[in-house]
């Protein structure tokens, strides 16, 4: 192996990389729900794992958090293997999961005050309450919170220990649009401060809004990784040219729409081509193609 080949790998596994995954496999009852995922998350970036329900997002994140055993592959998170890392490592990561309870009988403030005592260092309760917009509900018992408020409390608990790396598993589930916006602001604030964020979502707008890079998971495999605007580069190069001819809609899907247009214009020397449109796939079209759920009516 030459020095030139070694160098990038050394950088990759070093200080610039928060998460490094190679060939991750997780099986349930013989069925692989995560099937050979390779993934790198750089320090300081917001990385979104996007995919439909059952794509393996939660399982992947749970392996990274060290709460689920893997059946194959290598995983390094903040320089350590999550399967064996200890408390000091765990105190450096924050987790907002889907399956964790908060208890019902305490108030919001009591809950935050209590869990502050588990960390080496903790954000003040007042700061957390303000950041997630629960200041007015501070004295409310958790049992009486709405689903969205409860989710915000869980987000507050996730960032309480001032983590370097934050995992957010479908964090905005149940939040109303205002709370969702506020949560996005919180994530931007964390990013601005240098926190690495790995979030899963099935909301495209959320991924586009927050993520530096998006990984699309489908059937346990990572089918694409790119900044949101560049996702599905191959698919985006294709345009659809539509026009009306003899009362019927004609459609051509092509990587070279200009050539199609030149032919069309030549065929209509008199001027206008009726009903002419040229469209390129939006994020949603690209996403649906990537996860293998081609939108209805699209011919390929």
């Amino acid at each position: 192996m030459t020095a030139i080949q070694v160098a990038p790998a050394a950088v990759e596994a070093g200080q610039d990389t928060a998460v490094r995954v190679r060939g991750l496999v997780k099986r349930y009852g013989g069925r692989a729900v995560v099937d050979g995922v390779d993934l790198d998350v750089r320090r300081g970036e917001v990385f979104a794992l996007l995919g439909p329900n059952g794509a393996g997002k939660t399982t992947t994140v749970e392996v990274l958090e060290g709460v689920r055993r893997r059946d194959g592959g290598e995983v390094t998170v903040l320089g350590q293997d999550p399967a064996t890392a200890g408390r000091a490592w765990r105190d450096r990561i924050g987790v907002v999961a889907q399956s964790t309870g908060v208890g019902d009988a305490l108030t919001v403030r009591e809950t935050l005050d209590h869990f502050a005592r588990y960390h080496g260092t903790a954000r003040p309760t007042a700061e957390l309450l303000a950041a997630v917009g629960l200041a007015e509900a501070a004295g409310t018992r958790v049992a009486r919170l709405s689903g969205g408020q409860r989710r915000r409390l869980e987000v507050a608990l996730g960032v309480q220990g001032r983590p370097e790396l934050l995992f957010l598993d479908e964090p905005t589930t149940g939040m109303d649009p205002v709370a969702r916006r506020r949560f996005w602001e919180l994530v931007r604030g964390l990013r601005a401060g240098g926190t690495t964020v790995v979030l899963t979502t099935h909301y495209l707008d959320e991924a586009a809004e927050l993520a530096d890079r998006v990984g699309v998971l489908s059937g346990g495999r990572l089918v694409d990784v790119a900044p949101p605007a560049e996702l599905g580069a191959q698919l985006r190069r294709v345009a659809t040219v539509r026009w009306t001819e003899d009362g019927a809609t004609r459609e051509v899907v092509t990587p070279e729409p200009a050539a199609v247009l030149r032919d069309l214009l030549a065929a209509h020397p008199a001027g206008e081509v009726p009903g002419l449109t040229v469209t390129r796939p939006g994020l949603e079209d690209v996403y649906l193609s990537l996860v293998g759920a081609t939108p209805e009516g699209e011919t390929r």
């Binding site: 055993r69 408390r87 964790t100 208890g103 009988a105 305490l106 370097e164």
Partner: protein, 275 residues
Amino acid sequence: MTAVLSPATTRPAPPSALAIGLARTGLELRLFVRDPAQVVFSFAYPIVMLVIFASVFAGEDRPGGVPFAQYFLAGIAATGIMLTSFQAVGTALAEERERGDLARLQVIGTPPLGYFLGKAGQVVVTTVLQLAVLLTVAATAYDVPMPDGVGRWLTFAWVVLLGAVAGTVLGIAVASAGSSRAVGNGISAFAVVLQFFSGVFFVFSELPSWMQEVAAVFPLKWLVQGMRSVFLPDAAAVAEPAGSWEHGTTALVLAAWVIIGLVVCARTFRWRRTA
């Protein structure tokens, strides 16, 4: 406007298991008092037992001419300890696991020992309060003589403590066996049968010898016997299976169950039902 939130630049080591155990003892107690059903059940059950036993069998004497209420106070106190430790912990833990409360503790980096200490702390406090209420009622309403002398109170203290700790670790151990429903039902059924075998409802020495032998394997029989040594006059010791209170054996059996429970906990404790 985006508020910048930075990660910690210096990070002290996370608090010790002992510190978390203390914090959790406070939390567990707070959760306990906010659950009226649990409070009523824990405190009222032994007293209701005492009232029923003393009323039904009023006037009957037991070995050594001991009044009924005095003889059975030992069994009722022991049952109370089992209730607030083994039964309460096993049931609560299975529910906490099912609700995902334990998964939260896991992702936040709680040392299992800190969690166990919190349970044990809560159990010791609630057990002491429960026994205080029970003994007060027994002494004032049924004229049961309280233990005389420091020696008896010391015996009372170590029997309560060992019994409560054994109950706690065994409760944690069995809570991993299944769903909260299965664990709750299993513990209740087991506890009732064990009470019959261990001389809570009957005079132990009058039970068939095979029942006595089965009971001697489990901690409750020793807990009841230890309590009899506290509440009965020394003359009553001749009615015991060995003709004495067997304090040494009692301590050994209870300690052995603590160790067995700890080994099982260390090997089987899980924050989640699946990994």
